[in-house]
């Protein structure tokens, strides 16, 4: 019965993920023209890739911008979500209302609504002088880095809007932390600050990775992403060079970059053992080593006994008094 329940998901994955994945892999080696009389495939090998890299200056530019923005924005979104989640998890009045407020953007600003809001300038804080921020950063950072960070300030509202789901995930994680740990820490004189670093953060560290990965995927696939729009436009472009094959090549290169970014965050935030875990492991390793040494000594002793016995029997071994008896 369980399989029946997951059947729609399996069918969906098969039809809408695996088959298109295979198809796009096949398509990327072809120039494809979809005419009303049928689809024409023309094998071009790596032609789509060379076309993208050599004749489409926008793609590499956008790719670099995307990589940089994602690496900068993900920590900001995750940290912001964590702060809000901690606040919402505290003892405040109208908690449910505030939770609703922070989750509302997830429902409201999806897809076209977000596009409309951005086009109306709703993603920026008018009072914030982005240029001043860039000038200030420019004094001690390379211009490209300063500009990117400055632009981040210009886009601050939107970044904060992207935090709804992450807040929800952090909230559920925070509610799973055993309250007795905090009680024990407080009894030992631990401050809230210490509790956060010693209890909260280590306990929810897996969720930080989860949220980071979620944010990377979200930033990589939402409608505000220029690369997604570029791939979509290339896919439906009627021009001879573009089309499904060209878009597939772009999409595969892009997906490899996204995977690398996810891996990067996994390496940074992946499950690392803390000092206690490391000490336990060290102790275990030491005990194992000692056990191995003891076994080795035991084996060596037994071997020596057998050797002595053999020597005694063959009378090659004699005691000091010459009797051969112990």
């Amino acid at each position: 019965m369980g399989y029946l329940f997951v059947l729609p998901w399996i069918i969906g994955t098969l039809i809408f993920v695996l088959i298109p994945l295979g198809q796009s892999f096949y398509y990327m080696w072809y120039n494809i023209r979809i005419t009303p009389l049928g689809t024409k495939f023309n094998f071009v090998g790596t032609g789509n890739f060379t076309q993208i890299w050599l004749e489409n200056p926008e793609f590499p530019q956008q790719l670099v911008t995307y990589i940089w923005q994602t690496i900068v924005e993900v920590p900001i979104i995750v940290v912001f979500a964590l702060i809000i989640a901690i606040m919402l998890n505290g003892k405040i009045k109208a908690k449910a209302f505030f939770r609703l407020i922070f989750f509302l953007p997830v429902i409201i600003v999806s897809g076209p609504v977000m596009n409309m809001l951005v086009s109306e300038g709703a993603s920026t804080i008018p009072a914030m002088n982005t240029q001043a921020v860039i000038s200030a950063l420019d004094a001690f950072l390379p211009t490209a880095v300063a500009t990117s960070i400055g632009e981040l300030f210009g886009n601050m509202i939107m970044i904060l809007w992207y935090s709804g789901v992450q807040i929800l995930i952090f909230l559920s994680a925070l509610q799973k932390v055993d309250p007795s740990l905090y009680e024990a820490a407080k009894m030992d004189g631990g401050s809230a600050w210490e509790c956060f670093w010693k209890i909260t953060l280590p306990t929810i560290k897996n969720f930080i990775l989860l949220n980071a990965v979620y944010t990377v995927i979200f930033l990589s696939s939402n409608e505000q992403n220029q690369l997604i729009n570029m791939i979509k436009n290339a896919m439906f472009s009627g021009t001879k060079e573009k089309g499904y094959g060209y878009a597939s090549a772009m999409a595969w290169m892009y997906s490899i970059v996204v995977t690398l970014i996810v891996l990067l965050f996994f390496l940074i935030l992946g499950n690392k053992r803390d000092v206690y875990d490391r000490m336990v492991a060290k102790r275990k390793r030491m005990l194992k080593r000692e056990a191995r040494l003891a076994k080795r000594i035991e084996r060596r002793g037994a071997r020596n006994v057998r050797k002595l016995e053999r020597a005694r029997r063959s009378h090659k071994y004699k005691t000091y008094d010459g009797s051969g008896d112990y």
Binding site: F5, P8, I34, F236, G238, K240, E241
Partner: protein, 503 residues
């Protein structure tokens, strides 16, 4: 528990079935019988996709169905041409007839069927505006017709007579030249620091677009398309002059700020003001639609103190008859259409045909008919007839000011728009690719407008690029891998341009 299982199983089957819905394709056969005019007597359905006002097209379709009761027409407004059509082609639901804005997409994917036989033998085509047949708008510089104009609006220069009066200037003659227009723009730019500045020009269409057609006498170069295109190749030196002149006007402070800009807020006090409503702009390089859609709506001109009259887009040389740049959607019969002749009749009825225009005028003249926005249909992007039929034109002109004060301007204007030349993306193969992959990427408009570059410096390279993209597109669309209608000589000619590119 058993009940739950049954419900779950049913739900699962329903979901799986939903996923697989829409994979089918329907078709319609027929007896193949035709009437004395060659039109099928079978009951058929034609699909028509378009960019026009939905209500207008639905009413036009009803008029067509009244004439051909056995033909059902289903209409759909296109949201995005390449997206909608490529999705339809992939799904096997391609329309029988469609009107498009980007001919490269249609030609690259062989969306349009060859309709030469129908066009060449159609007596209605003899009564069309001369440039349509002479330049072969829809032939794409081949000997074959693949499309016909379906919707036409010329470029237009409008003048606010009240501003001219306030500034004590003379109204120019209606058959003015380009130079006279530029001079008026400069004369009408007045900033006496005592109030809101008067600007000579407010623009929607950049002047360089208009200049490309108006740049020289036909004897010098027979320009029939943007960027100095004469049917064989481009010459962007003409464009560069217009581009530079327009850039100089902008840097010189003769051009009114755009809507939704800080400059507009500084000038008018409101970020969202449209310069056309300020009463402080003399000349407008606007879309033709601005008149009926905005200025001609009830009380608009009175409210803002305007008195708008149209002027012909001027030419550099003082030639009375000259081409004008125009928006001209091109429509065609799709290659997958099972009833191409009937589809051609529909295409003609919806766009260029005299009979269709008479039906259209019936719709526009009845101002009680409104669209979904509650607007009378003539105020919703009403096009201009392409037929020269007198009855059609008399009725059409009657929808514009007919009082003695304004009528002469409109008569002169309408007399001047009978030689339309479409923007490049409608009628020149490879033009859109050139703009998309080269021209728009160099940001020349912004550079020249800001005074950071000279347009002439880009002319030679841009000409070479434009010719390359055009030649490559001609080979691709009309060569052996496409429609295969080019002669060996033509193929060699285009191949030589491609081969010489970049050397």
């Amino acid at each position: 528990m058993k009940k739950k299982r049954i419900v779950a199983a049913l739900l699962t089957v329903a979901m799986a079935a939903t996923l697989l819905t829409g994979c089918g394709k329907s078709g319609n056969g027929g007896s193949g019988k035709v009437d004395e005019n060659g039109v099928t007597t079978d009951n058929i359905t034609l699909t028509y996709w378009h960019y026009e006002d939905e209500t207008t097209v639905e009413l036009m379709a009803e008029a067509f169905m009244k004439k051909y009761p056995n033909i059902t027409v289903e209409c759909k407004q296109i949201a995005d041409m390449s997206t909608d059509l490529s999705a339809a082609a992939a799904a096997g639901t391609f329309p029988d007839v469609f009107s498009g804005t980007d001919s490269d997409t249609a030609l690259a994917n062989m969306y349009w069927a060859d309709i030469t036989e129908y066009v060449e033998n159609d007596p209605d085509m003899d009564n069309m505006m001369v440039s349509i047949k002479n330049y072969g708008i829809g032939k794409f510089d081949t000997d074959h017709w693949y499309g016909l104009p379906t919707w036409y609006q010329p470029s237009a220069i409008f003048i606010d007579r009240n501003v001219i009066k306030k500034l004590n200037l003379e109204m120019p003659r209606t058959d003015w030249t380009w130079e006279e227009m530029i001079q008026l723009i400069k004369d009408a730019t007045v900033d006496d620091r005592s109030g809101m500045k008067y600007y000579g020009l407010g623009f929607y269409n950049r002047l360089d677009s208009l200049y490309g057609i108006a740049a020289c006498a036909t004897a010098e170069r027979a320009i029939k398309g943007e960027f100095g295109f004469d049917g064989n190749d481009f010459d962007l030196r003409y464009w560069a002059i217009g581009e530079q002149e327009f850039g100089d006007l902008q840097t010189g402070g003769y051009v009114a700020p755009k809507q939704d800009s800080q400059a507009m807020e500084d000038w008018s006090g409101d970020w969202g003001t449209w310069f056309g409503s300020t009463g402080h702009v003399a000349v407008f390089s606007e879309g033709f639609w601005s008149y009926q859609n905005i200025w001609a709506t009830d009380g608009y001109q009175e409210q803002y103190g305007l008195d708008i009259v149209p002027y012909v887009t001027p030419n550099v040389v003082d030639e009375k008859d000259h081409n004008i740049i125009a928006n001209m959607y091109i429509g065609g019969v799709s290659t997958s259409c099972e009833h191409p002749y009937e589809a051609y009749l529909l295409l003609k009825f919806m766009g260029i045909g005299t009979e269709g225009w008479k039906a259209r005028l019936d719709i526009y003249e009845d101002e009680s008919i409104t669209n979904a926005s509650g607007v009378a249909l003539k105020h919703s992007n009403m096009p201009v007839p392409m037929t020269l039929d007198t009855e059609v034109w008399d009725r059409y002109k009657a929808m514009f000011p007919t009082d003695a004060d304004h009528k002469p301007y409109w008569d002169d204007y309408f007399a001047s728009i009978t030689r339309p030349v479409p923007y490049g993306w409608y009628s020149i193969a490879g033009y859109w690719n050139f703009c998309d992959q080269y021209f728009n990427n160099i940001g020349i408009h912004e550079l020249v407008d800001a005074g950071q570059a000279k347009a002439a410096d880009y002319a030679a390279e841009a000409t070479e690029q434009a010719n390359y993209y055009h030649a490559e597109a001609m080979i691709s669309y009309f060569g052996p891998d496409g429609y295969d209608v080019l002669s060996d000589e033509d193929l060699a000619k285009y191949q030589a341009v491609v081969d010489s590119f970049g050397q």
